[in-house]
Symmetry: C2
């Protein structure tokens, strides 16, 4: 029986027409990140399983695609009922960056400004618009305690959106330290605070009443002090002054970042707001967190934050780090929705094969043009001219060239302008000069 030709559930193939926009966007991101002094890195798609599990990944750990041990190690694991997998596919690019930095720190500039554009894999339940393989575009500054790191990361991401012609992006900014301090003062013990943040993060989905109910049910937190702290965090989210007395240094820091972003990315930095209800999912954030939003998109276009302790896992003593990420798949969706062209780039010349007898001369023509650096799509074989022109049309070539016995006799080439449909005769020498 024939095998199914579909990719596995939740995975995708990309046709040439899909790839044009993806490559254009990915090249823009790479160019902008580079122009801000970030350097590209690459890490292995597979990581040792113990790197991916344990503190750091939060909910995403449950979604790891695990790779089966091989050979004797598998037999042994089955006999002893031990862990059957030894490797896993990365589910984000932050953990791999932390491992990378720990491994190569002596060869890297300090601070290290890095970017990483690569696929990640999560065993999510497959559903519309949610994929099990998707691209992330991370940039990070490792080794800077300064809030300038946040300004750099956010400015670079805003500049990407600017270069892609995306208007109306807003930045929401908060500081985990503000939230933790408010929870502290309400008497919530530090070991509960991350979990409480995850509940507060559900505000958009379940509303204030839902948040209060969950705080009560899940943590037995319902004292007046807790309710007040939660309200402080959720109510009037853009008003930063409410934290002035609670955490003055952090409040000043956030004001500073907002102020300094103003000149960034052709004034896109004007659209930066404080939002005390912004949490961001990951456990590992320790300071400022931020998120990019667009009115046409529910959910975010990307985000990031400061994660000063993630590298401890690899034996690197507490090092300041801050990073951000663009949600590539969402960005592509949004750009497509906004009508961004997905036109494929065809070769300038399509060369049709008039007949078997003309093959040698046709090949010679294509070699000559190619050796001059021209792009040439040669039809591979002699077929009905009608089919060859259908092919040229699908491939979006600019000009079709035909070399028949009559043309050869006259030492000329028949050209069809595929935009206008006009046919004419030309010398070989005039071909490279045709407008694109």
């Amino acid at each position: 029986m024939a095998l199914s030709s579909s990719p596995p559930s939740g995975f995708r193939d990309f046709l040439p027409s899909n790839i044009e926009l993806r490559q254009k966007v990915s090249q823009t991101i790479s160019r902008v990140y580079r122009s801000f002094g970030f350097e590209p890195i690459e890490t292995s798609a597979l990581e040792n399983l113990e790197v991916l599990t344990g503190k750091g990944g939060g909910e995403n750990e449950k979604l790891i695609f695990k790779v089966l041990k091989r050979g004797e190690k598998l037999t042994e694991a089955l006999e002893k009922s031990e862990e059957l997998a030894d490797l896993g596919l990365r589910f984000d690019l932050t953990l791999p960056l932390a491992r990378f930095y720990a491994a190569h720190q002596n060869d890297l500039p300090k601070p290290f400004k890095a970017f990483h554009i690569a696929p990640v894999w999560r065993a999510e339940r497959a559903q519309r618009g949610r994929y099990r393989e998707f691209t992330q575009c991370d940039l990070d500054i490792v080794g800077s305690e300064s809030w300038m790191a946040e300004v750099e990361v956010i400015s670079a991401i805003l500049t990407v959106f600017e270069k892609l012609g995306l208007k109306d992006v807003s930045v929401h900014l908060n500081d985990r330290a503000l939230v933790y301090e408010a929870l502290n003062q309400a008497g919530i013990p530090p070991n509960q605070q991350v979990e409480v943040c995850i509940t507060l993060d559900k505000l958009d989905k379940i509303g204030q009443e839902g948040v209060f109910a969950e705080l009560h049910d899940k943590f037995s937190l319902d004292s007046a002090a807790v309710v007040n702290a939660a309200k402080l965090i959720m109510d009037n989210p853009t008003e930063i002054s409410k934290f002035d007395s609670i955490a003055p240094a952090e409040a000043r820091g956030i004001k500073n970042i907002l102020e300094k972003l103003k000149g960034a990315a052709g004034n896109q930095g004007q659209n930066c707001f404080f939002n005390s209800s912004l949490m961001r999912g990951f456990d590992y954030y320790t300071g400022p967190v931020f998120e990019f939003r667009h009115p046409k998109l529910s959910g975010s276009l990307g985000g990031g934050g400061r994660y000063d302790r993630l590298l401890e896992k690899f034996g690197v003593p507490s090092i300041a780090a801050c990073g951000g990420s663009i949600g590539f798949e969402r960005l592509i969706l949004l750009l497509e929705e906004l009508g961004n062209s997905r036109e494929t780039l065809g070769a300038k010349f399509f060369i049709a094969v008039f007949s078997e007898e003309m093959l040698a001369q046709t090949l010679e023509l294509s070699s000559k043009l190619r050796n001059l650096g021209q792009s040439v799509d040669l039809y591979p074989g002699a077929a009905k001219l009608k089919n060859q022109f259908k092919y040229a049309d699908q491939k979006k070539a600019r000009y079709a060239l035909i070399l028949g016995p009559d043309e050869v006799k006259q030492n000329q080439i028949r050209i069809k302008d595929l935009k206008t449909g006009i046919e004419s005769l030309a010398d070989f020498e005039s071909l490279p000069k045709l407008p694109d």
Copy 2:
């Protein structure tokens, strides 16, 4: 205890300095393939396991990284001692292309000229120079029976080498059909012929005596007819006329390809030879096979061939297909050996932070330059100027800019040319005009 920060055994990280050459080469390959009218495709890294196993992959099937089933399906598989994995990482790009074509054929031009540059994974025993994750660069023509497909594929690959400045590449060409016909006439049954080819392929490693011994031991093939056929294939490998009477049509086809390649890639096609001892490993080749070699490299720089039946697996009736691949990792090694530059591309401007007090004005300077489209690496934070200049040096910036209180008073900026070491003062307006 801290986790190891090394990537898994056999896997690699790439530092910025490694990536420059890899990206340059990959972009050159992509540009050349496109200029020949090939279109990019992408497929999922994971495939359903049954796509990867079964006829086609040969030895590589044993090297599949298998992905563990998840949740209830895993529990069930363990209870019933069934297959524990349902997905696998692709080990080449040919099988995924075959699946891709079967899935999307109605949306694709006919014939379909495709290329695919992507990583593949093989659970090889880790050893020096052999990696478990490596990049392949495939190009294929699906739906052309003409030998012009071979000419296109080989020409495109030769043009890549040409554009990379790689001289002395030779092409070795054979036709599986010639070999099979010789084996036929020696009375070797068709179902043994692929295995016999694998033995013949060991000629370089074990010599003629070794090949004869293996034919005897493994297949009990040692009649005079078999020995003669094997000798015909192995002796005088460049002499195509020895097949003129055995398989006249195929011999003519090969002569044709060699003849037509002559004008390709600025006459690199002159270095194409017939080699009757060339086999290429994969089972699925049915016609011409070819390989690219370089005198500085043992083994090949790439290769390919015709595989007219691979798509049957996916229910597509026999369709003509021909493809080739560049061994990306070997190509990079060779280029590095030949002294190709690996210099990182730094930002044009490095901006140092003179002091905390100068931060606002320094940020303003960087925003202004960036908004003009200049590349600017800003040091994220105030640090000792000595450390900042060490950083600028590592990052290979072109100019360092410093804004101290004196410069601000004079409405000027201090520039250090990092190539010459010369310092000077300049107005903001003259900065964008500095030579690269």
